[in-house]
Amino acid sequence: MQTYLTLMLLFPLAGGLTCALAGRKLPRQAVEILACAAVWGSFVCAALAAASYAAPQTVTLGGWFSSFDLLIPISLYLDPLSLSLAVMIGFVCGLIHVYAVFYMRKEGDYARFFALLNIFVFAMLTLVLAESLPLLYLGWEGVGFCSYLLIGFWYTDKNNADAGRKAFITTRIGDTALVIALAWMFQLFGTLSITQLNGMGFLMPGSIVTAIGILFLIAAMGKSAQVPLMVWLPDAMAGPTPVSAMIHAATMVTAGVYLLSRMYPLIGSSATAMATIAVTGGVTAFYGATCALAQRDLKRVLAFSTISQIGYMMLGVGAGAVTAATFHLLVHAFFKALLFLGAGCVITAMHHEQDIFKMGGLRKTLPLTFWCYLAGAACLAGLPLTGGFFSKDSILVALWHKGGTLYQSLYALALLTALITAYYSFRMVYLVFGGSDGHKHVHVELKFMQLVLIPLAILGLFGGVLNLPSYIGEGFLTRFFAGLAGGAAVEGTHTEELALQAVAATIALAGLLAAYVRYGKGRSQRLLEAKAYPTAMAAFLLNGWYFDRLYQAVLIRPYQALSGVLWQKVDEGVIDDSLDRLAGGLGFSGSWLGRWSTGRVSIYIVSFAAGGALMLGYLAWLAL
Amino acid sequence: MTWDAIDIALMVGKILVLFFVILTLAAYLVLAERRILGWMQDRIGPNRVGPMGLLQPLADVIKMLTKEDMIPSAADRLLFSLAPAMAAIPAILTFAIIPVGAPMVLFGREVNLQVTDLDVGVLFFLALSSIAVYGIALGGWASNSKYSLLGSIRGLSQLISYELSMGLSLVPVVMLAKSFRLSDIVNAQAQMPFIVYQPLAFAIFLVSIIAECRRIPFDLPEAEGELVAGFHTEYSGMRFGLFFVGEYINIIALGALASLFFLGGWRGPLLPPILWFFIKVAIFSFLFIWVRGTLPRLRYDQLMHLGWKFLTPLALLNILATGWWLALR
């Protein structure tokens, strides 16, 4: 087991370092093969680990810090949660690597790209497998770092670089909260081992647990793009599409959910913290869905849908259904990666045109992409019997069973969101693939890229078997997660469950119907309308509720003004000026004293003698 | 140390006697030199004043005293007047430490035939000989004459150079006697005069003292042919006389020291100590005159080379050898 875990981490690390250090010297194909092989090797290790998995275990690879009472070993923890995520990460990332090989064929700087991808995988796996919080934090920052560099991969364009910076700075707010939580917990518990911490929650009063939970929530907000720190994710689409698929849809953004699930035994005891998490998730889900309604950029639609879906996951965690949340996380990873990769195919076919109102007719040009994409959209919309349906439904069920006014209203909100989700999913499908005015150009690479979609589509569609509802049979994940806190199956009658699923299915189908009416039938009219200036509501949604402007007005403007004042008045006016004056004064006095060093012995002698007389006089004064 | 009247009287007596004897001796040494040189050069020399010219020194003194005292107008009057005294006084002072005979009993107490028996006697002698330089240097400088100045500079460098080899040649003597005190040195030669042990040191010392006296062949500071008498060109009358007398007193003093250091001083068989001492000094004085009558003058660079490149290293080697010998004995 130790071998598997070590190799799982070492493969991508070695691949990334090799690419980074020697990538420029190696031929392109060697780099590509190396990068893919590293990730697939990691996946194989994960699969083998899963195959031989028996019980949760901790593996210590070495020491990191050991000073005073701070002991941080490099130790990994394998339990159902981390194992399932590791397998998912290995698989999805491996597929995306293969996809990226073809997608990035025309781009230079392949070494940097693949090095960063591999290092990202390493960091993500570290995050997931870490047994101690500092190691988790290492991975946490590692993925953030790779994300920053990959969003700004085409850094020569200022917008891309800005998007990278925005992502980095915004997530940093969350990171700060995490560091505070870490330091505080070390002070409270004297350890940073996750397994130990999770068993120590009862030691502390509820208010402290709540505070720690909220700090973790803020960390998750940053990394998982939850309200109010979600503004970076839509802009992160500036990166290459495989990056968007891998980092900003499937893996990294779920880190926040993972963190909360991981620490659930600790923070789950605080109802307040849980409620806050649930509210955040619900609001984010609703926010993302509404914004996705009006987006014109294909990737931004997907980005907002990601925000929305992660909101669902948070909702699940908030409702105490870690299994449901993880279930949705896994299925979401598959279908969202599928959607992004499909979008990548579309964008490639459209010669990097991303406006969905300028697309259409691709159903005939790219049939394979269409069918796969359709599967992804169905999952996203939660059409019955798809993987997305089951996973989303398990969250809804958990919410319903939680009970209470708060969770009931959140359930209603989630249902509304599901309706909107179905609507915008098919709006997207209709606009992109419907109609007849299609483009005809298909690259060779595109064929290979489309092939990658197939396994993802299958997984997305049939992901539901991972955790079938209890009336069909005992869910695999439920059984697997049974040992975890918060992993217990939601109890309820089969009838009730069926009723809830019927409601969800009806909602999804209603959304589909609405989308068909508006964009299937009235497509041409919609295209005409799109050319007009957007209505106030559409603009509001298009711009993500104007959150960017709000932040601009509330935070950035005052900050810039303050910076301006600090810069011009304080820094230049006070500090610089005083330093300038000081330097000038010193220079003046220096040159003035410098006249002393005339090179004339006589003056030196007089100075020297005067100094000596002064010292002697001091001694005499002492003697008096 | 308490002094009573007899002590003081003895001291004053010693000083007066010594003073008188030295001046007389110096005066007659001049006469002797003139006579001996005359004989050597196959002529008669001064023989008119008194029997065999014995009153000649008196006549010379009278002549000098009555001569007009000339001071050049551009001269530094103070230093011009002081210089002759500066030349003569160290020579006279040297006698303060010279034991002229064995201690004798007088007025019920033992009396050294020596003005004072310093425990750093050798150093006292060296100090005085180094002071003697000033008379020459200042005399020449104060005259404000080119030739005098040249003579002074020559004298300075010559004296400094030979002082070194002279001092170094005395180190083995001190090492053998294990004292700076002159009476100790004389007593250390009770068995054997040091010339037996230290012939090389004696040779170096002899050459050096001739140079110190600025006698031929080392009389470059006053070389008549080149510098018109050098540093005392401008002097006349009694001032010149002082230079002159100083030189001869110096001869006697150095002769006395040479006999003390190497020939056992007043020690000798049969004859009374004072006589022995007198004989030895006379021998050295004769040697000086003899050399003057025999050897030609050296060139200036030869003089310097002899001092620095020959005598000084030789003296150093001699010290080394003596040290070894003393250590191994």
């Binding site: 007089v606 003698a609 005067a610 000596g612 007389a613 002697l616 006089g617 001694l619 005499a620 003697a623 008096l624 | 530094d76 103070l78 230093l79 002081l82 310093l118 425990d119 750093v120 150093l123 006292f124 060296l126 100090a127 000989s129 180094s130 002071i131 330089v133 000033y134 240097a137 200042l138 400088w141 100045l149 040249l150 002074s152 500079i153 300075l156 460098s157 004296l159 400094i160 002082e163 001092g167 004292s179 700076f180």
Partner: protein, 161 residues
């Protein structure tokens, strides 16, 4: 008697030095200074340091000052130049420094009153030499090296090109 002699010699020393530093000609300064050093040597003798006294005369009066005299004469012979003389204004800092130093030391010295022990005996040559060549052997070596360096340096500076 020696006490009286000490004060007389002190007066001679101070007077000679004073004349030396105010002399108009360097040669005269040397002469005054030699006088002063002579008196100083006698003070050393009185203070029980006959060896230092002898060396004071041999080395200071007999060698160092002669060297000065030699150089002065050589320079005068080479190119008689008018050396700059200190103006009256130049004496002010000197006088102030003089007063400061003497005042300070007087104050410091007067604040303690240790007398030289009346019965003290002069340090004999033997004692002196034993201390010099045993306890301070290293210092002697160092000094000899320094003299050697000075010799080499002087030769280098003096060589003709």
């Amino acid at each position: 008697m020696e006490t009286t002699l000490f004060y007389i010699l002190s007066a001679v020393t101070v007077f000679g030095t004073l004349c030396a530093i105010t002399a108009r000609q360097a040669v005269r300064a040397i002469v005054y200074l030699v006088t002063s050093f002579f008196a100083l040597a006698l003070i050393f003798y009185i203070l029980g340091a006959p060896l230092v006294a002898a060396f004071e005369v041999i080395i200071y009066a007999g060698a160092i000052m002669v060297l000065f005299l030699f150089v002065i004469m050589m320079l005068e012979l080479g190119s008689p130049e008018k050396l700059p003389k200190p103006r009256l204004a130049d004496w002010w800092p000197a006088v102030i420094l003089f007063l400061a130093v003497v005042g300070s030391v007087t104050v410091i010295a007067a604040s303690r009153q240790p007398a030289i022990a009346p019965g003290f005996t002069a340090i004999s040559v033997r004692e002196f030499s034993q201390a010099l060549f045993t306890r301070y052997g290293i210092a002697v070596e160092a000094i000899s090296m320094q003299l050697l360096f000075a010799l080499v340096g002087a030769l280098y500076l003096g060589r003709r090109r």
